[in-house]
Amino acid sequence: MIKLNRVSKVYPDGTKAVDDVSFEVEEGELCVFLGPSGCGKTTTMKMINRLIPITEGEISIDGRKNTELNEDELRRSIGYAIQDIGLFPHMTVKQNIETVPILKHWSKSDRDKRVTELLDLMGLDPGEFLHKYPSELSGGQRQRVGVARSLGADPEILLMDEPFGAIDPINRVRLQDEFLSIQKVLKKTIIFVTHDIYEAIKMGDKIALMDHGQLVQYSTPADLLYQPKNEFVESFVGSDRALKGLQLIKIKDVMSDSLPCVKPEQTAEAAQTEMESKGFDWVAVVDDDNKCLGLVNQTDLASNKTVKEVMGPITATAAVGAVLNDAVSLMLSSGVNDLPVVDLDNRLVGVLSFGTVREALAKIADQGRESK
């Protein structure tokens, strides 16, 4: 647990970069420091590992003040990731990742094992990447190595300063997804600095929104969207908060599992009945393992044929792990009212329709209002 108690940073010229900030980050939580540039979010983060000395107040980690430890020891116990420029250009991927383990005098075999483990975790093939130099990597790969390096000595706490900032939007989304799924397993306590509200809503268990050195609101992403504390928060969140709210809802939490499906060897008539009983204008065709084979539309139906003969390919499916944002965008672009939801092995697990999306959004907004 990281606890900030009335923390301030005043520079010698009198500028107050951080002004009396107090809050706590629970263990295993990902806390996003969000705000416009110059709001003090990075300064606050850097005071945690004492890259920037604190002027007033105190920061404690698991009940111990961070000034008790030697500052180098403190930093070695906290993972630190910045934009990809932070990789050491004259060192290989392996040498970069084992930086902190070497500083902590790990044995060579432990280090080798750890580096391989981390590359696997980040989805980089150790055989290929171990001995490459940063200049030989793509932006996304560099970012992954940066995150792997911060996890080098398996710290309990990670500080990440816009770790996905210098990367194109498509790769950024992929990295965010990967990182979230890794975090689900690792359960590190993470401080994540960003100025991107979409990233904040997506990544954060909690968001600390800062402005002019002050903590404006510290709450869950949903509360930030639907219970803005003041006008600044409201304007920072923007008028399209309903759309942003779509990011907060996971497809698997709202999808309906009453889905229309038939086996390929069934008759077209059976498919018709299935559609009518479940109230859809299509039916998914699945094998015995529930894997998606295709789709039958109302227009495809001709009696006395089997499903196998009339089915067409499935054009649009939503991944069960994704958020509503992705699904709605797909629904709009492919012009359908309902999307079959599949898992990673292409097994049909549910169905998502516009009606469900609306209800889910209304519910999350209501919760916000009620607790106000």
Binding site: L51, L103, Y133
Partner: protein, 246 residues
């Protein structure tokens, strides 16, 4: 490959000129210098002037360069850099000539090796100092911040990050300084320090241009060789990740 061909061609031309002039019977009113004298002057040129001057210049410039780029003294770096750059604009002839009255004023012999050596050191410090400052200042601040953020001590950052990243650029400064000093050391003959400049000067004073060539050609050959040699070392010192030809 092309560089090697150019290098070998230039070397052959320089050595050829030297051999050609040395084997002549007379040049104008002069008898050409013998191989023994040329060898003696080359040794004097390199081992009494250029090499000691470069070594002393390294010993001064690198520590000073490192010092003025440390966090506490960083504000000094720009002024040191401009002094170094401005210093390089002073004609080398002037630096050598000024040493004579300076040495005499300090009660020492104004002619000979010592004042020449001091002038050469002063001249050699500048490119090395400038490159050392540039090399350290140009290291990506994100890299240094990451190193600090991961818990490296100042000494570890200097040794594991700054030194390997700065070394190629510092080495380039040493190469430039060495090549310049090989040329500048010929001026030392004016204040009686000898060296290959002595041969050049004899040619000038006796109106025997070929004798001048007899001294100048070895100077060029030495400069070209040292430049190639130090260039090779520079390349070997460049870490693989930041060299341009991986």
């Amino acid at each position: 490959m092309r560089r090697q061909i150019i290098f070998i061609t230039l070397m052959l031309i320089c050595v050829g000129i030297t051999v050609w002039v040395t084997n002549m019977d007379r040049v104008g009113i002069m008898v050409p210098f013998t191989y023994e004298v040329i060898w003696m002057q080359i040794r004097r040129h390199l081992f009494s002037m250029v090499f000691p001057a470069v070594l002393i210049a390294i010993a001064i410039a690198v520590p000073v360069g490192v010092l003025v780029t440390r966090p506490g003294l960083k504000h000094l770096a720009p002024s040191v850099m401009s002094i170094a750059s401005a210093g390089m604009a002073i004609p080398s002839m002037a630096v050598v000539a000024i040493m004579v009255p300076v040495f005499i004023a300090m009660g020492m012999r104004g002619f000979g090796i010592s004042p020449a050596l001091v002038a050469l050191v002063l001249w050699g410090v500048l490119p090395i100092l400038r490159n050392t400052c540039t090399a350290i200042n140009n290291i990506n601040p994100g890299v240094l911040e990451a190193a600090r953020g991961m818990g490296m001590t100042r000494v570890q950052i200097a040794r594991k990050i700054e030194l390997p990243l700065a070394l190629p650029v510092i080495m380039a400064g040493i190469r430039v300084a060495t090549v310049i000093l090989v040329g500048t050391a010929t001026l030392a003959a004016i204040i009686g320090a000898g060296g290959l400049g002595h041969i050049i000067l004899s040619g000038v004073l006796n109106r025997a241009p070929l004798i001048t060539l007899q001294g100048a050609a070895p100077v060029a050959a030495i400069a070209i060789t040292l430049s190639a040699l130090l260039g090779y070392i520079e390349k070997r010192l460049t870490p693989r990740g930041i060299s341009t030809d991986i």
